[in-house]
């Protein structure tokens, strides 16, 4: 649930951040045929950056939180995997060598 809340709230924040700038633009420029694309671009990019950062933060936050309420079944803990592959290999080699 809290993830949905997080998602919604962050979304609202972003919309709120973008909206004033565009409203400002509308007030300043009376002519409906000319649109302030410059601030739109900046607002849009800021929106993209904020979303992207949020996404990254979400991924990184996994490691601290998953241990409490989620099964450890996702990519965050994939780093361990390398050693897992190496250890049995070594023992296997030793084992086969011992056999002979």
């Amino acid at each position: 649930m809290e993830t949905i809340l997080l998602f919604l709230s962050s979304f609202l924040v972003c919309v709120a951040a973008v909206d004033p700038s565009t409203q400002d633009a509308k007030e300043k420029v009376e002519n409906p045929f000319i649109y302030d694309y410059e601030s739109l671009r900046i607002g849009g990019l800021a929106f993209a950056v904020v979303l992207f950062t949020l996404g990254i933060l979400l991924i990184l936050s996994r490691r601290c939180r998953c241990s409490i309420n989620q099964k450890p079944r996702a990519p965050g803990d994939e780093e361990k995997q390398e050693e897992n592959l190496v250890v049995p290999k070594a023992t296997v080699v030793a084992e086969t060598a011992a056999e002979n």
Binding site: I4, T22, L45, I56, I59, E78, K80, L85, P88, V92
Partner: protein, 1010 residues
């Protein structure tokens, strides 16, 4: 032998005949010949061995004594297989069609649009990149495989021209006289001519856990059973033997199995078949759409060439560009997840196979059991005691306070030649290496565990004389000094076959007191012996006696050759029985497989009694289920009168299996749920697997020995053991359990089923956006509106925004307990079926297209082009020379201005698809449950939502995009055009799933549950 050599030149023709030949039993006959005959056959001498000249001649004739390595596929072939296999073909076809379309355009138009060229290049790039990705992924696991190969060259001691020489095992030829001793690996198939207490470990070849005696006499017609043949690459455990080499290299029993294995052809993996089916569906839809609109275009008066371009365009637009990468990444993620749980998957596609598995044929020795003899039961004080057989000594213990037990432990410890190898004091007792016979080591470990150091015991009771075990005596005895230095008597201890021991006893030890052996006690002994034997255990009897001092004073010279001391009138102490116990995690795992609807069959080379006991122990034959023989015994009627249908379980002997017809075999596999095959040869294992496959089952085989490898190769998925498994079996398998834990199979099944479900979701998600991508082009052709969505934007969706959400669905958790479900039916439950297509294309996709067109019309209307004026405007709109096109309000637009509006529409359409795909990914999370039941715990998916939105915003707003990708910034309000449609999709699908859950089996389920 000769005819085989003759056949090899025309191998191509006789390849199938060879395979059938290899499937038959071993043709060795030398065991029935006398030593002289064998010598004559190989022109050798029993004392002198071969002459060097002869040996060299034979070496040239037969080739080196080594197994021909299986033909390895060159790296570039593997790479090409990745590039052109399965799904890639679809993309290649798309790319070629694109280039074709571009060529046509280039030939006919002055200024061809580059779209088709770019699309072709991108498609090619996607296939190559994904191909490289999966190639390196598989190369990684094959590198681990390489490390399994052992490089130590084998040595063999041969006698040539009367001299013993140590040579490389590769140079051994048929006819060589060789010598092996305990610890050696047998360098070729040999006919034993003389042996001293020689025992070989045949477990990797026949599956017998116990070391087998070898002696010069022929004891059985079957070469695998007779005592006078020792096989290539088995181990000599103890004793020495001298023998004549009868087969070398690929002609050995082991070599035949290896050749059979590498010659077997394996079918496609289930997932590959599913992907093929999927490609058929997609191609069908694409061709149908393409041809329909081709005809329409012709009717509407387009030229032939234009219509062909449209045809190609529509077909290519149906290719889901991102799906190949998505599927590959999803499978890779699962493979990694499994590797973390110690299941190494050699072939990416095999990841899913365990999930579809409906039958598991498991080897016993080393897979279900620990492959080490362990003391399981004891009988003393007229009572059966249970010993702890668990690997970690967590099981129950028995009463160790009895005096009889101390005596029994003393006899077992003293009358025992096994000893721990040095330098292992830090290891737990069960892990230590022991030099000596398997059952003696079992006794040693058991005593060491319960009574402390055996070495101290042996030091206190110095050994004076010893008669080792031999098959005529069937006992082993030794004479020791007693612990008490003032007591000058000698202690005689003896162990051996229980009935022989009993014959020598007149008294029995009960609660530490010697009592005369009466009939009642003898019967108690018989009962205990029968009961332990019936458990498939190997039973040994123990007895001792304190030799009277007057007859055997201190310093008495015991002569072990013509036994000059008392070996009867002994005192019986007890029985100890040993078994190769099941691994701890196995019963649980078998139970889980059962509840997952998977039939577990045991296929072993071991004896039926042992096999049945273990099968009962691990739950392959569940409690209360009887075999035909059990029923017959219970009802006291002959076996023939029992209705085979009454027995759910059955134990089938390999020799019976040989006489079964195919129909009878099918009958057994179909009608019995719990089957044990005992005494099976490698060839029979293969036949069993083929039988299961004939009945439509997807078969997994687990095994560790060489004897399992043909079956491992033939199975839909072969699972080998990483630690105890032989090289050949690992080569043949598709999956390797790095920790040898059978329970990992359950993990494999679970992960396999999960990824199958999640792939469905991923595909449903990815396919949905195909409709809003194709419809703009269709309407562009039919009603002549300005193109609402361009090729570049389509690629941005397929390879950009859709990727992460599609992959994130691989992390989705199971909706229900997938391990309680029956395995899927490969003929009915497809990865992609018409219902999935109907949902994705026909329902959700259509709503998405509506959303996209809504934003398209909104933007054009805001710019002055009302929808009514758009229809039919295309020719003027796309005409460079028309620079005064009027909109609904009479404003005039130049070509360049019009194009900016058009590309803004493309961007808006693109953003709308992203918005409706939000809803799509959320509804694709589940197939039956509501999202509210499933929750939003999948963080990757939330990340995907953020990321696709951020990417869309970036593409739209980043300065320079108007030049690079022709994407223009959108007014914030335009983002919201598709929101109602997104909401509609969500509600629509939630309602559908609600109906589906409310009416199980109803119309909604039949028509829409994918």
């Amino acid at each position: 032998m000769g005819d085989k050599d003759d056949r090899s030149p025309k191998k191509k023709k006789g390849a199938t005949k060879d395979m059938d030949d290899l499937k038959k039993e071993v043709p060795i006959t030398e065991h029935k010949m006398s030593v002289e005959e064998v010598c004559r056959k190989f022109q050798t001498d029993i004392v002198q061995g071969l002459t060097n000249a002869k040996a060299a001649e034979f070496l040239i004739r037969d080739g080196p004594n080594a197994l021909t390595p299986p033909p390895t596929t060159p790296e570039w072939v593997k790479f090409c297989r990745q590039l052109f296999g399965g799904f890639s073909i679809l993309l290649w076809t798309g790319a070629i069609l694109c280039f074709l379309a571009y060529a046509i355009q280039a030939a006919t138009e002055d200024d061809p649009a580059g779209d088709n060229l770019y699309l072709g290049i991108v498609l090619t790039a996607v296939v190559i990149i994904t191909g490289c990705f999966s190639y390196f992924q598989e190369a990684k696991s094959s590198k681990i495989m390489e490390s399994f190969k052992n490089m130590v060259p084998q040595q063999a001691l041969v006698i040539r021209e009367g001299e013993k020489v140590q040579i490389n095992a590769e140079e051994v030829v048929a006819g060589d006289l060789i010598e092996v001793k305990g610890g050696d690996r047998i360098p070729a198939d040999i006919r034993v001519v003389s042996a001293h207490g020689c025992k070989v470990d045949n477990s990797s070849l026949t599956g017998e856990s116990e070391p087998q005696n070898r002696s010069p006499d022929c004891t059985h017609d079957n070469p695998l059973e007779t005592r006078n043949i020792a096989f290539f690459s088995t181990n000599c455990v103890e004793g020495t033997a001298r023998g004549l080499v009868i087969c070398t290299g690929d002609r050995t029993v082991m070599g035949r199995i290896a050749t059979l294995t590498s010659g077997l052809e394996t079918g496609k993996t289930p997932i590959a078949k599913e992907i093929e089916h999927f490609i058929h569906i997609i191609t069908g839809v694409a061709v149908f759409l393409g041809v329909t609109f081709f005809i329409l275009a012709i009717i509407l008066g387009y030229s032939w060439l234009e219509a062909v371009i449209f045809l190609i365009g529509i077909i290519v637009a149906n290719v889901p560009e991102g799906l190949l990468a998505t599927v590959t990444v999803c499978l890779t993620l699962t493979a990694k997840r499994m590797a973390k749980k110690n299941c190494l998957v050699k072939n990416l596609e095999a990841v899913e196979t365990l999930g579809s598995t409906s039958t598991i044929c498991s080897d016993k020795t080393g897979t279900l059991t620990q492959n080490r003899m362990t003391v399981a039961h004891m009988w003393f004080d007229n009572q059966i005691h249970e010993a702890d057989t668990t690997e970690d000594q967590s099981g129950a213990s028995f009463d160790k306070s009895s005096v009889t037990w101390l005596s029994l432990a003393r006899v077992a410890g003293l009358c025992n030649r096994a000893q721990f190898k040095g330098g292992q004091d830090s290891l737990p007792i069960l892990k230590r290496d022991v030099a000596g016979d398997a059952s003696e080591s079992a006794l040693l470990k058991c005593i060491e565990l319960s009574c402390g150091s055996v070495r101290v015991m042996r030091d206190k009771n110095k050994k004076v004389a010893e008669i080792p075990f031999n098959s005529t005596n069937k006992y082993q005895l030794s004479v020791h000094e007693t612990e008490d230095p003032n007591d000058n008597r000698y202690l005689l201890v003896m162990k051996g076959a229980p009935e022989r021991i009993l014959d020598r006893c007149t008294t029995i030890l009960l609660q530490g007191k010697e009592q005369p052996m009466d009939e009642e006690l003898k019967e108690a002994f018989q009962n205990a012996y029968m009961e332990l034997g019936g458990l498939g255990e190997r039973v040994l009897g123990f007895c001792h006696v304190l030799l009277p001092e007057d007859q055997y004073p201190k310093g008495f010279a015991f002569d072990t050759d013509d036994v000059n001391f008392q070996t009867d009138n002994l005192c019986f102490v007890g029985l100890m029985s040993m078994i190769d116990p099941p691994r701890a995690a196995v019963p649980d795992a078998v139970g889980k497989c059962r509840s997952a609807g998977i039939k577990v069959i045991m296929v072993t080379g071991d004896h039926p009694i042992t096999a049945k006991a273990i099968a009962k122990g691990v739950g392959i034959i569940s409690e209360g289920n009887e075999t035909v023989e059990d029923i017959a015994a219970r009802l006291n009627i002959p076996v023939s009168q029992v209705n085979p249908r009454d027995a759910k379980a059955c134990v089938i002997h390999g020799t019976d299996l040989k006489d079964l017809s195919q129909d009878q075999m099918d009958d057994i596999l179909r009608n019995h749920t719990e089957i044990v095959f005992a005494r099976t040869s490698p060839q029979q294992k293969l036949i069993i697997v083929e039988g299961c496959q004939r009945l439509g089952a997807i078969v997994a085989v687990t095994g560790d020995g060489v004897n399992d490898s043909p079956a491992l190769k033939k199975a839909d998925i072969g699972v080998a053991m990483g630690i105890s498994g032989s090289d050949v079996s690992k080569q043949a398998a598709d999956m390797i359990l790095l920790d040898d834990n059978f329970a990992s199979i359950v993990t494999g099944v679970e992960e396999g089923r999960l990824i199958f479900d999640n792939l469905k979701k991923s595909i449903a998600y990815t396919l949905t956006s195909n409709i809003p991508e194709i419809t703009p082009f269709l309407l562009f052709i039919i009603v002549n509106i300005p193109l609402p969505l361009g090729t570049i934007t389509i690629l941005c969706i397929d390879l950009g925004t859709d990727m992460v959400p599609a992959i994130s669905l691989a992390y989705e958790m199971a909706e229900s307990d997938i391990m309680k479900r029956q395995p899927r039916n490969p003929t009915r439950d497809k990865l992609v079926n018409e219902r999935l297509i109907s949902i994705a294309y026909g329902q959700i996709g259509m709503i998405q297209a509506l959303g996209g067109f809504f934003s398209y019309f909104v933007i054009l209307a805001e710019n002055g082009f009302l929808p009514s004026i758009l229809v039919g405007i295309r020719l003027n709109w796309d005409n460079r020379s028309v620079n005064d096109l009027e909109d609904s309000y009479g404003q005039q637009w130049t070509y360049e201005q019009r194009k900016i509006v058009e590309f803004t529409c493309h961007t808006a359409f693109f953003v709308s698809i992203v918005v409706v795909q939000w809803a799509d990914v959320i509804i694709c999370k589940t197939r039956r449950n509501s999202v509210f039941q499933q929750g939003m715990k999948n963080k990757i998916l939330i990340f995907g939502l953020f990321e696709e939105t951020a990417l869309a915003a970036f593409l739209s707003y980043c300065p320079g995009m108007d030049v690079a990708l022709r994407m223009y910034p959108l007014k914030p309000t335009w983002w919201f055009c598709a929101f109602p449609y997104s909401f509609l999709i969500f509600v629509y699908d939630e309602v559908r799933k609600l109906l589906l859950r409310r009416n199980p089996g109803g119309w909604v389920e039949k028509e829409t549950y994918y």
